[in-house]
């Protein structure tokens, strides 16, 4: 990989890393900070990482950094935005926002998924990664990734069907 290729891959992976950080941290500003910090570190070590696949490295590093930040927030006793993800969004809540677009509702359903399912769904649907890569990044097996992906899609589908049945 020459210097130009490296720079192209380096820049191309930043948006993926940012979207992944948003999914993990549930906070756009915190995600921006995390990407900025990660890229500062990687930029300083760019000579060492030229030979390896860059995107999986960025995504794995981004995941580790975000999980570290979530853990330190938890230790510091701060309220976590991520906690909101475990809360199941009720149909009644959606009834109150009838004017909101279906698109926004799908996003809210995805955000309400458990962290692991949300993460797998993000890497697959938003980043277009294959199952093997996702298993590598999340440190799990391909079978487990498929199950999490299936559960995530089915949960979102059930949520949407509920909304549709309520006349939205």
């Amino acid at each position: 990989m020459n210097s130009e290729d490296f720079n192209r891959e380096f820049i191309a992976a930043k948006d993926s890393a940012y979207r992944y950080a948003i999914t993990l941290l549930h906070d756009r500003h915190a995600a921006e900070d995390a990407v900025q910090d990660l890229y500062e570190k990687l930029w300083r070590r760019r000579i060492l990482i030229r030979a390896t696949g860059f995107r999986p490295l960025v995504m794995t590093s981004m995941r580790n950094m975000c999980l570290d930040r979530l853990r330190s927030q938890r230790r510091g006793g701060m309220r976590l935005d991520i906690a909101a993800a475990d809360k199941r969004t009720s149909v009644a809540e959606y009834d109150a926002v009838e004017n909101v677009e279906l698109h926004t509702l799908v996003r809210r359903l995805v955000e309400a998924l458990p962290q692991r399912e949300r993460e797998v769904m993000h890497l697959r649907d938003m980043e277009g990664m294959d199952i093997e890569q996702i298993a590598g990044i999340t440190g799990s097996t391909e079978q487990s990734v498929r199950m999490a992906l299936s559960r995530a899609r089915c949960r979102v589908r059930e949520g949407l069907l509920n909304i549709m049945n309520h006349g939205l």
Binding site: D15, R19, W43, H103, L149, S150, R153, L160, L161
Partner: protein, 145 residues
């Protein structure tokens, strides 16, 4: 996409079994139906998948701007590194240039190979010629010839 393939593909999509190419084909087909105004004819599962794939498509456009800064030069680090390197070179040079001590004569180190050889030859020739019988005191004590 025929009417039989779509439900089959949707079933596989919800089971997490579709390939990336199949998901792209599904997304493209559902998007075309939405554009053509025939999305209402889709099953609820089809509409749900269409919305999920549309969200993914939109989210993919999210961008971030980052600012990268070169690490500032730190002169003191260069100075420390230079000093340590110089000290290491001096230590190696001193170690390599230290004369070899072949032995000691009356407490004085013998560093010349020629002198060491001469001293050794003198010592062994004395013993061999019996000029100085160094074993005499021992033989006297042990009372042997």
């Amino acid at each position: 996409m025929d009417s039989e393939l779509l439900p089959r593909l949707l079933g596989r999509y919800y089971r997490g079994e579709t390939t990336l190419a199949e998901e792209e084909a599904l997304r493209s087909h559902l998007a075309q139906r939405a554009e053509a105004g025939t999305a209402d004819t889709l099953t609820p599962e089809g509409r749900a998948a269409a919305e999920m794939l549309r969200l993914a498509e939109t989210e993919r456009k999210t961008k971030v701007v980052i600012r990268l800064h070169e690490a500032p030069a730190r002169p003191w680090r260069i100075a420390v590194a230079t000093a340590l390197s110089a000290a290491a070179i001096v230590a190696v040079a001193v170690t390599l240039n230290r004369p070899t001590v072949y032995g000691y004569v009356n407490g004085r180190p013998v560093t010349s190979l020629a002198e060491a050889r001469t001293c050794t030859e003198d010592l062994f020739s004395d013993m061999h010629a019996g000029k100085a019988d160094r074993t005499a005191p021992l033989r006297e004590i042990l009372d042997i010839e």
